[in-house]
Symmetry: none
Subunit: 149 residues, 2 copies
DNA sequence: GAATTTTTGACCTTTTTTGACCTTGACTTT
DNA sequence: AAAGTCAAGGTCAAAAAAGGTCAAAAATTC
C-alpha cells in the first residue's frame, strides 16, 4: 500500500470516527505513519480538495493544527454539484447566475449571496490580466460555496 | 490548550463578568496562570488589538494596571471604519481578526463570516506570488464588507 | 517510453513561549 | 527637593513549535 493511501486512510478513519471532522497535528501524524510531514500536505491537496467535498483549515505556530471537515450531503448536494461544475475558470455572469440561483432556492442567505457576488466583481481584480481573473474567481467561488455548508 | 489561550480566556471571562471592561495586574495574572508576565503582553498585542475591537490602557509603577475595554459602535460605523482602515494590502491573520470581531459583535452572520474568511484563505490564491495575494485580499475584503451593509 | 502521480527533503513562514533588560511611577529618606 | 528604592508594566529578540512550498527524484500508469 502506498504511503499516500495510508495517510488518506488515517484521515478518513478519523473523519468517520468523529462524524465528519478531524483535527490533526501534521508532524505527529507523519511520525506515527512513518512518513515525511510534507506527505500529509500532498495527500490533502490531492485528495481532500473542494471538489472532493472537504474543507481544510489550518494554523501554523505553537499549537498549530490542520482541520479537515467533510461537508454533509443533504442540502449540500446542490452546492457540491455546483462546486464540481465550476472547473478552474469562472466568469462574472455565470457566477452571478449560480449565486442568484442558490439564493433563489434559499440555500444561502441574501447577505451571503451579496458577499459572494461582491467577491466575483471585476472591481476586485483591478490590475490583473483578464486571464488570471477567471481562475481566481473559480477558486474563490468554490472555496466560499463550500464554506456555506 | 496553549498558554496564550488560557490567558486570552481569562481576560475574556473578566470582560464578560464586568460587562466589557477588565482591569488586571500583569504579574498577578501571570502568577495565577503560571506563565511569564510578558506572555500577557503577547496575548494582548496579538488578540486584543483595535482590529479585534479592544482598547487597552495601562500604567506602570506601583499600583500599575492594564485595562482592557471592548469597544461597541453601531454596525455600519464599524464596517465603514474597517473598510476605510483597510489599505491596499491585507494579510490573512489581520483579516481573520477583523472578521472574527465582526462576527463576535453579531454585525455579520456566522455564514457570512465563514464565507468571507474562506475568500481570504491562501488556498484561493494558489500559484499567485505572495505580493499579489495581499492586494487581492484587500480589494476583496473591502468589496465584500461593503456589500454586507 | 512518455505522462502522470507519488515521495522526499531542503528551506520558508507563522505563531508561541521565555527571559534578560528597560522604563515608569509612587513612596521614603536625606 | 533630590536621591534612592521598590513595585509595577514594557520591549525585544532568541528559541521553539508548528505548518507550508517547491522542485527533483522515483515510481506508476498508459
Amino acid at each position: 500500500m502506498r504511503v499516500s493511501d495510508l495517510v488518506s486512510q488515517a484521515i478518513l478513519d478519523l473523519l468517520n470516527r468523529q462524524n465528519g471532522s478531524a483535527e490533526i497535528r501534521r508532524n505527529e501524524l507523519a511520525e506515527t505513519l512513518g512518513c515525511v510531514p510534507s506527505q500529509i500536505n500532498y495527500v490533502i491537496t490531492s485528495r481532500f480538495t473542494p471538489e472532493h467535498g472537504y474543507v481544510v483549515e489550518s494554523r501554523r505556530g505553537g499549537g498549530g493544527y490542520i482541520r479537515i471537515t467533510r461537508v454533509r450531503v443533504d442540502r449540500s448536494t446542490a452546492v457540491m454539484h455546483l462546486v464540481n461544475s465550476v472547473g478552474d475558470a469562472m466568469d462574472y455572469p455565470t457566477a452571478r447566475a449560480i449565486i442568484g440561483n442558490l439564493k433563489e432556492q434559499q440555500f444561502i442567505a441574501p447577505q451571503t449571496a451579496a458577499v459572494i457576488l461582491a467577491a466575483m466583481s471585476d472591481r476586485c481584480y483591478a490590475g490583473l490580466p483578464a486571464s488570471a481573473r477567471d481562475g481566481l474567481r473559480a477558486a474563490l467561488l468554490k472555496q466560499m460555496l463550500l464554506h456555506t455548508l
